[in-house]
Amino acid sequence: MTEISQNRAPRRFRFERHASTLLLLAAIALYVILLLALGQVRFLTLDNLVAILGRSITLGITAIGQTFAILVASIDLSVASVISAAAVVTSVMMNGDPAMMVPAIAAVLALGAAIGLVNGLVITKLEVNPLIATLGMSLIIQGVLSYYYNNFAGNVPVEFQIFAYGAWGIVPYSLLFMFALAGLAWFVLRFTRFGSDIYSVGGNKDAARLAGIKTARVVIGAHVICSLCAAIAGIYLASRLRSGAPWIGAEGVYDLESIAVVVIGGTVLAGGRGGIWGTMAGVIIFSLIDSIFNVAGVDAFVKQVLRGIIIVAAVAFYAARSQRPVA
């Protein structure tokens, strides 16, 4: 088979590279057409644009991390639990005291990094399928968390709520933060050796190993980043909800949704191909869909049906053209 698979025609249009942009444009077009058709032009304002972009900050931050995990041909189902844990620890540690803001954030980030480290170690050293490893981790975190807390616990000081509610003009800090984080992630993937290694390990683990890359470290690193992002998302959610509860991660279905937006953004589940901006496009598409549903007054149940179909259709939009077999 080697001969054929490599015997490709040179220089063809790389559809996958542009598909997420096409999908985003389609969603925007649909939204605008819908507003015009319904005569709801009052939604075509900058305020509303900001509101739409700001809908999915938690999902966006989580998805940035999930992009790393998926690029390296892994996956992380534990992000929702990490979000809950991070939010609860944030709010319990701060407990209204502004002086505890920095220690709390540091502790939560350390917690996130530790969880990512364990995920990575279980996947690389015990060679447990990432799906199972992170699902198991998710159950464990959720269990430990619900053992100690069963409601909203603690609260964050008013000063800390600026993270979620403060704004620069009409643009919330959190939105700027998300895009800054995405920029940072893009930078890491594009300009650092670690970022390059992520693509290599995700693309072909054996080749990466032969080239002298310590593949296990790269996988672990990707998982640490993934869990760190989930922890940041949890911190943000604590600021937004003013407190943390052990169910808020699961409530938002951030595990499956983050995977869905990453895949819709054109990062392939098999790893090695994709990027952050696709993921951000995926996040915005999700926000737009939500807004479209709200504007059109779609019934909650119909909404769910449509959302399921959209996820599959969007992924099919790329995948059907790919020659690779899928599992």
Partner: protein, 376 residues
């Protein structure tokens, strides 16, 4: 993962009247207050329970008076369980009774705090709302969003679960969790001899209103000298409920089952039935399936309620506000009657769906019963 979602859905259905303070689920003062309210007389028309209110403190709403047609916006925590479905139907039917409401905009947060905050932002950004009704997904989390809406000059009506601010025009809710627990516990104490064995089945820990239901009942059982076999969490899952009761039956007899919510009461009853045993006292809630099971098997049941008519009341409060009429405030406390053996038959309606909540206060509406899935 999804089990958690399920429990959250159930949680959404049962959490109400959350107190604004830090969680304290064993508050003797609140306990006593609710105990009194259960038997107190309420103001308002006797035949329209959804218009009744405790106390006589009213809010002046003249500043919100506005000519119709109005746009009424409603940010809903979700319609992901039968209680909320019945409630939401009450609400939409109530809307139809008010021609002044030109547009009723409903956004559904699907059980997510994060999404509900974003939804309220959306409504504020482009919804052109004249009044905002909020059924918060959780108390503390939604407070900033509600405050933001108040700050935008909108009259806000909150119902079911509360928020920790008094900026809304009013907060509509029934008596509360202790009341529910008290009604069920009193019934058991009256029907089980001292030393009897009680199994307490709960949906999940940590939810204010469920905790108060349990703590109220627990204290009463201990006081009455009943033996609490155990407190088990069912996740609101029929199958699990059945398994738990079966396990307890294998280990010995049960004299009463106390339930903090009625969703799985029938499963608990069936566990006795399937073992070929007589059904002891099993408490429930006002779902049709439980009421009918109770009547058919003739066990000693009781159905405390967390009435769905508060969804009607929320619309009425909004309408009154926009009309500039006074509204009970800062809280509009609704009566919370229990269905007992004496009145059982008048609440049973076999034409209604099994998980229809009988205490809906909706029988007088023109579209009853079809809109609720029933037939005449």
């Amino acid at each position: 993962m999804n089990k958690t979602l399920l429990t959250l859905a159930v949680l959404g259905m049962l959490t109400g009247a959350a107190s604004a303070q830090a969680p304290n689920f064993d508050d003797p003062a609140e306990f006593a207050k609710q105990r009194d309210q259960l038997t107190a007389t309420f103001n308002g028309p006797a035949d329209q329970v959804y218009l009744q209110y405790a106390g006589d403190s009213m809010a002046d709403t003249a500043q919100y008076k506005k000519d119709g047609p109005w746009t009424v916006c409603f940010s809903n925590a979700g319609v992901n369980n039968p209680w909320r479905v019945v409630g939401y139907t009450n609400m939409t039917e109530e809307v139809k009774l008010h021609p002044e409401i030109g547009t009723f905009t409903h956004v559904d947060a699907e059980g997510s705090d994060d999404k509900q905050i974003a939804d309220i932002d959306d409504l504020l950004a482009g919804g052109d709302c004249d009044v905002l009704i909020v059924s918060p997904n959780s108390t503390a989390a939604l407070t900033p969003a509600v405050e933001k809406a108040c700050a935008a000059g909108l009259p806000v009506i909150v119902f079911d679960r509360g928020v920790t601010t008094d900026c809304p025009v009013t907060f509509v809710h029934p008596v509360g969790g202790y009341g529910f627990g008290i009604q069920a516990a009193e019934h058991i104490i009256a029907n089980v001899p001292a030393g009897g064995k009680v199994l307490m089945l709960r949906i999940l820990p940590g939810v204010d209103v469920l905790e108060t239901r349990a703590s109220g009942a627990r204290n009463m059982f201990t006081e009455a000298g009943l033996d609490i076999l155990g407190e088990e969490f069912t996740d609101g899952d029929n199958a699990k409920t059945k398994s738990i009761v079966e396990d307890y039956l294998q280990r010995g007899g049960i004299d009463a089952v106390w339930m903090d919510a009625g969703a799985t009461a029938v499963a608990a009853v069936e566990a006795f039935e399937d073992q070929g045993m007589d059904v002891p006292v099993v408490t429930g809630e006002d779902q049709q399936d439980y009421l009918q099971k109770w009547r058919d098997l003739g066990f000693k049941g009781i159905a405390p309620t967390y009435p769905t008519y508060q969804w009607r009341t929320a619309i009425i409060a909004a309408v009154n506000t926009l009309k500039g009429e006074p509204v009970p405030s800062p809280e509009w406390v609704l009566p919370q009657p229990a269905i007992t053996q004496d009145v059982l038959d008048q609440y049973i309606n076999e034409k209604m769906p099994p998980l229809h909540y009988a205490m809906c206060g909706c029988e007088d509406m023109p579209s009853y019963p079809e809109a609720w899935g029933g037939s005449k």
